[in-house]
């Protein structure tokens, strides 16, 4: 059941989409096929899907660890932006220099930037008991405005005719493609690798066990000598670091600069990806791909059957609704087996 529900949700969404798009006067079956199947049908499009899914998987992996421990970081978008800002800071400071050390330094700065942004909710939660749900969300808006401030002000490209964007990064500051001419940049395999490592850590280490115990049974965790405080710090910094890394990967990869359009909502979508993936790294990679498919497929449906973008948005929302709805099928099994989880699973 655990692994069947996503497929059930996809099937329900496809059925509902066919009917709704048909009622709206479009070719329903073909629209649904364009959204769900067409992006997968051509191997040419696979790199595009991976490029889209990479950051989602990376951020969602970080979030899922926190969600397992009942740490509700919903500000990954802010941490993603903060990472991009910090990494871009290094890029602009080293502009004109060359060397193989620059790119790793940018990535490190990106991780630290994301961690710093996540440290605020961690500090406020552990020190004052402030809900991280709200603080992390609020900080996202602060990060967006900080980005605007920088690219419209001090970081504006001096040769860019006053357009609010930074310089283009130099080749030494840009993530290389995995092979000549490929869309896939180095960040993508790293993202997938990180997701796998996270899985190993969770499954095989004491820290991973601690996170799970704190999430499932806080009282038992205290008895077992596990620190809730440490878990909060660990999961928030981890999630922030990965989101920050995703941010600088995106900035130094496909964007090649920082622009006001940089915040594209990966951080929010990743929350959904984490849930769809059942907070499991393999599930998350699959879920990230599903969302990438619907996104790319939505564009195909626009050119194919003239389906407006708004309809694709609604279709994605329907998919999420069905996934969340079918969750109930699995949630009540663990509840029946282990009553202690009913409250904690909240």
């Amino acid at each position: 059941m655990l692994y069947a529900t996503p497929f059930l949700a996809v099937a329900l969404t496809a059925a509902a989409g066919t009917i709704v798009f048909g009622l709206m006067g479009y070719d329903g079956p073909r629209a649904v096929r364009d959204i769900f199947v067409a992006p997968l049908a051509h191997p040419d499009r696979w790199p595009e899907l991976l490029v889209k899914a990479g950051p989602l998987a990376l951020i969602a992996t970080g979030l899922s660890v926190g969600f397992r421990a009942n740490v509700w970081n919903i500000g990954a978008e802010g941490q993603y932006i903060a990472g991009a800002i910090a990494g871009t800071g290094v890029a602009l400071a080293t502009w004109g220099l060359s060397g193989a050390w620059i790119l790793p330094a940018m990535c490190l700065a990106g991780m630290l930037g994301g961690m710093a942004w996540a440290a605020v909710p961690a500090f406020l939660r552990t020190r004052f008991g402030v809900s991280e749900i709200l603080t992390s969300l609020m900080l996202t808006y602060v990060a967006v405005q900080l980005l605007f401030l920088l690219v419209r002000g001090p970081w504006k490209d001096p040769e860019g005719f006053n357009f609010p964007q930074t310089r283009m990064f130099t080749p030494d500051q840009t993530l290389p493609a995995i092979s000549e001419g490929s869309l896939i940049h180095l960040g993508i395999p790293i993202a997938l690798l990180v997701a796998c490592i996270a899985w190993l850590l969770l499954a095989r280490t004491v820290a991973g066990y601690e996170v799970k115990v704190v999430g499932l049974a806080p009282a038992a965790a205290r008895h077992g000598g596990f620190s809730e405080r440490r878990t909060i710090w660990l999961t928030l910094l981890g999630a922030g670091g990965l989101a920050g890394l995703a941010g600088i990967f995106e900035a130094a990869g496909p964007f090649g600069q920082l622009t006001p359009q940089f915040p594209g909502g990966y951080g929010y979508t990743a929350i959904i990806v984490a849930f769809l993936g059942r907070l499991h790294p393999v599930g998350i990679i699959l879920a990230a791909l599903v969302l990438a498919v619907t996104h790319v497929g939505g564009e195909l449906a626009q050119t194919g059957v003239g389906l407006p973008q708004a309809a694709t948005g609604m279709f994605q929302a329907m998919l999420l609704f069905f996934l969340l709805a079918t969750d109930v099928l699995i949630r009540f099994r663990p509840v029946l087996a282990r009553p202690a989880r009913a409250r904690a699973a909240a």
């Binding site: 004052f128 969300l137 959904i272 109930v328």
Partner: protein, 307 residues
């Protein structure tokens, strides 16, 4: 001249604050019952478009308001069905609801782009609002007064009535409330529905009064500000009112200052302020925990299943 300026300033503030007050009041009631609905922006957009469509089709902005309430209500019931009926995660469902609202409103609104309607307009006859000083009191449309009145009613209802007490109990401790025999899920559904109705009205305020038209994403992110405001007000209606008007005043003052040729602060810093202030308030009320009514409802965002 300066009286006219002041009157105009005050009226701009009142009107800019009204949709945020309405949306956040609805969200406050939902959160007081323990439900965190992040889909305010989506519900507002649905309200804006259904309100406009109804007004355009019937010629009556007041029928538009009714339609907007219905639109917001139905949208919120999707959320209620998933999170309360099926115990889905509230954060994820709320985000999905916003995606839904953006898409659905654009689809519904497509045939109405470029159409015009008669705006709501002042509620009271012009005779009462002829003089500038009278106008600042009596020159508004229905929703400005409704928002103020509802804030008072909600404040009183939550504090002094038995159903209000039950609602707060449900938000503070769903298991105890359930044990006593209160219908936790029914109360929460009602609270979410109220939030939907008010978000619908808030959205319609854009399409029927502030900027009487329909264009995609008309509300431009005000729903997120409403969410922040609930926290900023530490879940108290009176502070919500003060916060909404403070926000409206600062934003309007910024525009006036810039039009007069001086900048207060870079606009980006100013745009950060509401969120930073919210974090600050949240920290302060956590450092000095006052009465229960000022703190976050203990069950906020958590699912409840009456096992």
């Amino acid at each position: 001249m300066s009286t006219a300026l002041l009157v105009s300033f005050a009226m701009t503030v009142a009107m800019a604050s009204t949709p945020i007050l309405l949306a956040s009041l609805g969200e406050l009631v939902a959160e007081k019952a323990g439900v965190l609905n992040l889909g305010v922006e989506g519900m507002m957009l649905i309200g804006a478009v259904t309100g406009f469509a109804a007004a355009a089709l019937t010629g009556s902005a007041y029928l538009g308001l009714l339609a907007a309430m219905l639109g917001g209500l139905l949208t919120s019931l999707i959320f209620a069905a998933l999170t309360l009926g099926l115990s889905a995660n509230q954060v994820a469902t709320g985000l999905a609801l916003t995606i839904f609202g953006v898409g659905a409103s654009a689809l519904i609104g497509a045939p109405f782009v470029g159409r015009t309607i008669e705006r709501l307009g002042p509620l009271l006859p012009q005779a009462l609002a002829g003089h500038p000083v009278l106008r600042v009191l009596f020159g508004y449309d229905l929703l400005v007064y409704l928002a103020l009145g509802l804030t008072a009613v909600v404040a009183w209802w939550l504090r002094y009535t038995r159903p209000g007490l039950v609602l707060r109990a449900v938000g503070e401790s769903d298991t105890s409330a359930h044990a006593i025999g209160y219908p936790v899920l029914a109360v929460r559904t009602g609270a979410v529905a109220f939030g939907g109705v008010l978000a619908g009205l808030a959205g319609a305020y854009f399409s029927l009064e502030l900027t009487p038209m329909w264009a995609d994403r008309l509300t431009a992110g005000r729903g997120w500000i409403a969410l922040a405001l609930v926290v900023f007000a530490s879940w108290r209606p009176a502070r919500l009112l003060a916060g909404a008007y403070l926000f409206g005043a600062v934003m309007t003052f910024e525009l006036h200052a810039k039009a007069a040729g001086f900048a207060l602060l870079p606009p980006e810093i100013l745009a950060m302020l509401p969120y930073l202030a919210t974090i600050l308030v949240l920290t302060l009320i956590s450092v000095r925990p006052g009465r229960v009514s000022t703190a976050a409802p203990a069950c906020l965002g958590k699912a409840f299943s009456p096992a």
